[in-house]
Structures are given as C-alpha cells and as structure tokens.
Symmetry: C2
Subunit: 219 residues, 2 copies
DNA sequence: CCTCCACTCGACCAGTGTTCGACTTACTAG
DNA sequence: CTAGTAAGTCGAACACTGGTCGAGTGGAGG
C-alpha cells in the first residue's frame, strides 16, 4: 500500500539547487536591496552553510548574473508574426515597455546593469529586438537596437536612483538653488515617469521611422 | 632677506584637503578601477592614515560622489548664444558628445552612475541642457532632457561593460549560438561605438525636431 | 562490504568601511 | 609667555565581507 508514510525516503527537505538559490536571491534582493545581499544571509535563508553555495556557484557575481537574467526572464516576448499588425513599432514598444516594467519591479537590477548581459533570457530578448528591427527594414539594426536598449537601461537607472533616495529632500534642494539653475528648478521637478518615458520613446521611434523612410524613399 | 630657507614654516608637505583627496581618488580609479578603491589605499597614496580621511569626508560614498562630479566637471559647456548658429541641435550635440567623452575617459564612472547626480558640475550641465531645449521651443523640456541623458548614460554603461570584460571571448560565444540568436550573431558584433552612438543620437534629435515642428506648425 | 562521488560545512584568511578616543599641532586670548 | 581651544591626525579595534581548505556526510553501484 502506497502512502506518504511508506515512502519517507526522498527529500524531507528539498535539496539545494541552482534554481532555488537564484529564486531566493531574487527574493532577498527584492526585500532588502543589493547592499544586503550577502552569501551568508542568502545561505541562512536557504538553511545552509554559506560555503555550500560555493559548490553551486563560483562567485557572488554569478549569483547576481543569474538573478539579473531571471528578471529579464519576466519580460514577455511579443508574438512574432510578420509583418506585425499596427506597424513595426508595435512589437518594439511592447518589448521595451515590458523590459522597463520588469526592471522597475526589481529596482536593485538597475544598480547591477553594469555587466555584460549574456544570460539566455537577456539574449533572447535582444535577439527579438534585432529581428524585429531587421524585419522593419533596417539593413543594419545595430544602432537602432543599441539606442533602444540604452534608452531603457538609462531611464530605469535614473528613475530608480531618484525614487529610492529622494523622499522629498531634492525639491527643497533645487528650490534653494533656483537662482543658479532656473530652468532645471522650473521644469525638472515633476516626476511623471511613465508619461516622460513614453514621450521620449516616441522621439526615438519617430526618428528611427524617419530614417527608415528616408532610406526606402516611401512616405 | 627672503629665501626659501627663511620661510620654512608653511607646508613642508602640502596639507590634506578635500580637493587633494578627490584628485587622488580619481587618479586611483583611473589606474586601478572602482573595485580597488579602498579608503586605506587612498589614504596610503596621500601619505595619511585611513582614518584621517573621515575627518574630511563622511563616507566612502562621499568620495565617489565627489569623484564622479569631478568627471562631469571635465565636460566643456558650449557657448550660450541664442539663437545658436547651426540650429538648436548644435549645442545639444556638443554637450552630449562631451558628456560621453568625459565618462568614457574614466570608465569606472559608468559603474557609479546609479546615484543622484546633485554635484554642482552635474547640475550645471543639466541646467544647460534644460535651457537649450527650452530655448529650442520645448514648452516642457523635461522629456527631451530626460531622453538625452538616459541615452548618454546608457550608451556609456553598455560600451564600458563590453569593452572592459570582453577581450574577444564574446565573439566566439555568440558565434557558437548563432543558430539560436541569428540576427544578433549577424548584426550585433561589430563595435563601431562612435558611429553607432552618433546614429542613435541622430534618431533621438530627429524625433525631437519632428515633435517641435509638429507643435510649431512650421516646416 | 567497500568505494566512489556529489554534496555539505566549520574554521579560517585577508581585507573592508567605519568608529573611538587619545594625540599632536597652530593659533588666540589673557 | 603661558593656557586654552580648536582643527586636524591617527593606531587600535569592531563587525562584517567574499572566498578557500580540507575534512566530513550519505547514498548508489559494484
């Protein structure tokens, strides 16, 4: 007779895997931020000795690489019909928007972006971008893809740094210096992040579309 | 009689100042990178005990803030004639180009950009950008300024991370995975950084110009 | 039964940012 | 000229970090 009791052998506690490590790392980062991610703390949350982690992972940097790629994995890939309905910008907007959203959902990721993005999830998204731009008519999609990723990364970094550490003090700071920085004090303060992001993305896409038509000759 | 010997009182060794600390920090960062910047090492180069630094500076983060702002100080501000000859894009291109160059001259700065840029040098450059865009006709210059800074920051971060850690291995890595990432493998590899940057900046500025004319109604 | 091997972990190392309290100057007031 | 005060210096120490070493564990295969 088969019951829970007859097979107590396997895994009274789930064994440690790379997947569990990464998932716990993401959770810890979400809760406490990048400064508080420590191999020892991570190990403790996994009910393990800290040195055990080093059997699954070579360095702490590996953990961060994996955690970051996990975030990229949250970005849904738009469908790949070609030609896309709604114009070539449609899927690009979708990808970029999802990209931004994922990074903002895990603000620590913005402080970790200064490393090569070679994880499978990141590569898959980049590949999608290149493919979409090629299909749109860019013979050399690199500058377009480059611009778009730079724009997302940059905007997330900017938004996170200001949102995180601000808490109101900056307004006063700039107001006091309005004489020295008049335009900045007048226009720089309202943080309508989403709208600003969309507007800027519009600039980029419009410019790219223009370049496309200039090349094609079509209107 | 006045000679070197008659006034040995003052500063046989130059006293420690904030300026000297920052300058030495920048030098150390240039030579060895951000990971090797240590309060102790910095102090050693300044012929001081490490704890002395803490009289001039509250935390190591302060040092980084100051060093970063020193980099921004290297960016030459374009002349401020209005209207600028060569179109409104002229001074903007100049500022953005200088901005990028300064950051690339000190690659460590790219890994330090995840903090509020509130130093006087950074503020002055941002103010210039806002003013130039306002003068160009943007009633709300924020999205434009936001896009441009995001673009510079992002591109510097990307370039630095790839330039620093690559050393050739990435090409093979992507070539091996060409089946999975065909577009990326085909178009993603040539790193003509400057040209790519200029092209992308063109997209942005063109899109912004378009928005301007749409608003103005003029061609 | 023994051997092997994936896996775990306690002890330890060199090094980190930062604090504390004592010390040395250099000028100022009496 | 002396006493006092403030600016500036610094050695010792603290709690903590990422990482290594080698000794262990337990279960599967012969």
């Amino acid at each position: 007779m088969d019951s829970v009791w007859s097979r107590p052998k396997k895994a009274p506690r789930q064994t440690l895997t790379l997947g569990r490590i990464v998932a716990e790392a993401v959770a810890l980062l979400d809760e406490e931020g990048v400064a508080r991610l420590t191999m020892r703390r991570l190990a403790e949350r996994l009910d393990t000795g800290s040195t055990t982690l080093y059997w699954h992972v070579r360095t702490k940097d590996d953990v961060l690489d994996l955690a970051l790629d996990a975030v990229f994995g949250e970005v849904r890939l738009p469908s790949r019909d070609r030609p896309p309905e709604g114009g070539w910008q449609r899927p690009v907007r979708e990808l970029i928007g999802g990209w931004r959203a994922a990074l903002l959902r895990h603000p620590w990721s913005a402080t970790i972006l200064d490393r090569p993005l070679m994880g499978p999830n990141a590569l898959e998204r980049t590949e999608f971008l290149y493919a979409a731009l090629s299909a749109a008519g860019f013979a050399a999609p690199k500058p377009a893809a480059y611009s778009l990723s730079n724009y997302v990364m940059g905007s997330v970094v900017m938004q996170v740094t200001w949102q995180d550490r601000d808490e109101g003090g900056t307004g006063d700071f700039l107001a006091e210096r309005a004489a020295r920085y008049p335009s900045l004090a007048e226009h720089g303060l309202d943080h309508a992040w989403d709208a600003t992001f969309e507007e800027g993305l519009g600039y980029l896409l419009d410019g790219m579309d223009q370049a496309l038509h200039r090349r094609t000759g079509a209107p």
